[in-house]
Amino acid sequence: MSDTAVTMHDIVKTYRETGRCANDHVDLTVGRGEILCLTGENGAGKTTLMKVLYGMEKPESGTIAVMGKRVKIDSPLDANRLGIGMVHQHFMLVDEYTVAQNVILGREPMHNRFTIDADAAKRLVDEVIHAHGFSIDPSARVGSLTVGQKQQVEIVKMLYRDVDILILDEPTAVLTEQETASLFETLRTLRDTGKSLILITHKLHEIKAISDRVAIMRQGRMVGQFETASVDERELAGLMMGKSFSPAIEKTPYGRKQETVLRFAQVSVVRRNQGRPMLKDVSFVARTGEILGFAGVGGNGLGELESVLAGTLPISGGTITHRGKDISKSDAHRLRECGLAYVPSDRLKVGSALEASVSENLIIAARKRFSRHGMMRGKHIMQHARTLIDTYSVQGTADMPIGTLSGGNIQKVILAREIAQYRDYIVFSEPTWGLDIASSKFVHTQMIALRDAGASVLLLSSNLDEILSLSDRVLIFSRGSIVAELEGERLHTVTKEEMGAYMLGMHVREAAHE
């Protein structure tokens, strides 16, 4: 038996649609019982390489050895048989099924040839959940879980299949600090039981925090593989970007005239058959020339707040006004007319129509501007698309279906669209989820530029670093209410641990609201 779990050698993969070489003679080794971080920019080829290992993409050439044995992996089922599991960035779960049903899907415990042993299923899944200290209920419906819990289901699904090698595609992208910490705890336990873990991530501090080794890719090539302890964050960033890079965000203190754009007064959302309100007496104002951050652990009201801001969730109490005009009862259509610009957290299901072209996706909210007498102005639309594609350096063309772009590029298209058509306020929800450093920085620069130009920017994010470094004011949500408002000096001195304490509802609200 050898000490390496996986050896990939000389992998070449070119996408026929774009002719882009996503993996250019790539080598990768993963040791047994180690955590390897696979890192690099968006489109560096990390996900492709892992899809090759998981049998989802067929490489043109190259060899793969698992546990020292040369293998051929043609499908995820093959990969599963070889003990390889993958947790995708976009979850592959059936919302209508329970946790247990999702986990056993494809490998069901059977009474006989035709009937599934539901009790055994529940018991087996429960065992896996408890053995690894997860906190999910096997009989809960997956659709009702938070993102963090769904990810746990994905991991449980793989553990149920007895995998020895687990690939996680940007596992922390959607998690809060606390959820990330507990995920890392789980991953370390898994490593200590001899499993090999491959994490795709762009977050430098996470690489330092969790990995034993790090492999860096850039533009389809493997730049190098290092012991994590031997490189620091700055070196890592340099290797990823191929140029020197400073992660700090420069921002001028705000001093512009502040006008109130959006005012929430005692807004509540109560769902039928649910005792606790989803949002309870939420009051705040969003002003021009500032970035207002919203922080909270999943399931504490930020999701509902996003839906209310987007006009897809009607409120049960309170009022919302936009520049003095009551918009409490406005739906998405009316809000768009009021000037709502909004980057949703769910890019694939809400933010885009995957089969429609990039140019069609770019005009969804501004379609009036691109039509005359009811006819679309094709030339203007293409011109608009090309300009935005250039400005935001989107890897793709105007007439490609947006679904063929990478996740980061889809997000760029959405950002380009919303920023291009914003009027006075703009909502960002998880804007850098899954983006690499350069793209995240680009998004952050755009947000600050919007604020400096006098926009009222609302930022909902589970990434505390993002919230703390960008916001001029932060509202912390816990159990559907605002528990703290941080501003000025207080915001500069607050630690992540304190933030965490607020988010978990350990402090009562201290800063009184005006």
């Binding site: 768009r336 933010g351 429609a356």
Partner: protein
């Protein structure tokens, strides 16, 4: 400049590649027809000759074949339009029949109105089909009923009611047929390929195909409709009034069916006979499937459908092939043609 050349070149190359799938299907389908003829007919050469050459042998057969495709084009456009908005319209049978009936009755009543009467009658026929389908769309918007079921059930009910009206209060007492009175002669569309039944309604069908294509791909409303069909949540997010795209596409879809019915009356039948349109709605659905709901592909798809149908009819009349065998051959061909696996041959592999 370079970029544009490149795209043109790609588009040029793309055409034969995407047509490859259709060619393969056509080849397999023809091979199946040959095989079945040799298996099931004692005179396979004669059968094949009538099957393939029959529909094209003279203007009579050719014209009738083209005429068969007219209501199919209208219906298939209707199905596709609803489909593009993510709605299913399975009520084509009733919408076409109802539209044809109302158009006939109105034309008879408006005999003295001249050209205005023609237009009014046709519009009323279209509106009849449209309202029937829109009702299902409205129910879906209001109570989230499944339009797939409601269109189908409503269509069945309406067909029975229309059948009663034709056989009862609106029956023409001067003939032995169970049919309404004939529309005035001045209302009838001109025949364009005597002695066949082909009428100038064919031109209307071609024009309508272009209109539907332009509507879907060139107008703002068409854009909104397609976006709603591709992803309703995205459409709603972008501020598209989602309720209206449950009703409007259904109305247009039913209206196209109704129009198809009216065209059949004004071009071919002149009177609404009981059950004259049985099968047209379903056949139009098959045509839409073959065309994969793309308006411009509907014309070749409808012609192909009509060709196979009249080929089967011809073989039945002129050789030892029975109705059942002709139907089997027809079914095998359509089964192959609608296979999406075969259609994908030569096109780019999808992701994942």
């Amino acid at each position: 400049m370079n970029d544009r050349m490149d795209r043109r070149w790609k588009r040029f190359l793309g055409v034969p590649r995407s047509a490859l799938g259709s060619l393969v299907i056509l080849f397999i389908a023809l091979a199946a027809v040959f095989l079945l003829s040799f298996l099931l007919s004692k005179t396979p050469a004669r059968t094949l000759r009538y099957f393939f050459i029959g529909p094209l042998q003279n203007t009579y057969y050719l014209g009738n074949m083209l005429n068969t495709s007219i209501p199919l084009i209208f219906g298939a456009l209707g199905v596709s339009l609803a489909m593009r908005a993510g709605s299913f319209n399975l009520g084509g049978e009733g919408q076409l029949y109802g539209g044809a009936f109302i158009a006939t009755v109105s034309a008879v009543a408006m005999a003295g109105w001249g050209i205005a009467g023609v237009i009014c009658a046709i519009v009323l026929g279209a509106v009849t089909g449209g309202v029937m389908a829109a009702f299902s769309g409205y129910l879906r918007m209001k109570w989230q009923t499944n339009e797939l079921i409601t269109t189908f059930l409503l269509s069945n009910a309406v067909s029975l009611v229309v059948g009663y009206l034709i056989a009862g209060p609106f029956m023409d007492p001067t003939t032995n047929l169970i049919a309404t009175r004939k529309i005035p002669e001045s209302f009838r569309f001109s025949r364009i390929l005597e002695p066949s039944n082909l009428s100038s309604a064919l031109v209307m069908a071609l024009v309508m195909t272009v209109v539907v294509h332009l509507y879907l791909y060139r107008t703002k409303s068409g854009y909104e409709l397609r976006m709603y069909g591709l992803n309703p949540r995205f459409a709603r997010y972008g501020g598209i009034n989602s309720g209206s795209y449950l009703v409007l596409p259904m109305f247009l879809s039913g209206a196209l069916y109704g129009l198809g019915g009216a065209m059949a009356i004004f071009g071919t039948y002149y009177a609404c006979m009981k059950d004259f349109s049985v099968g047209m709605g379903w056949n139009a659905l098959a045509v839409a499937l073959i065309a994969r709901f793309r308006p411009v592909a509907i014309i070749p798809a409808a012609l192909f459908f009509a060709y196979i149908e009249s080929g089967a009819r011809n073989a039945m009349l002129h050789s030892d092939v029975t109705f059942e065998i002709a139907s089997i051959v027809q079914s095998v061909v359509f089964f192959l043609v609608t296979s999406s696996v075969l259609q994908r041959i030569g096109t780019k592999r999808g992701r994942g």
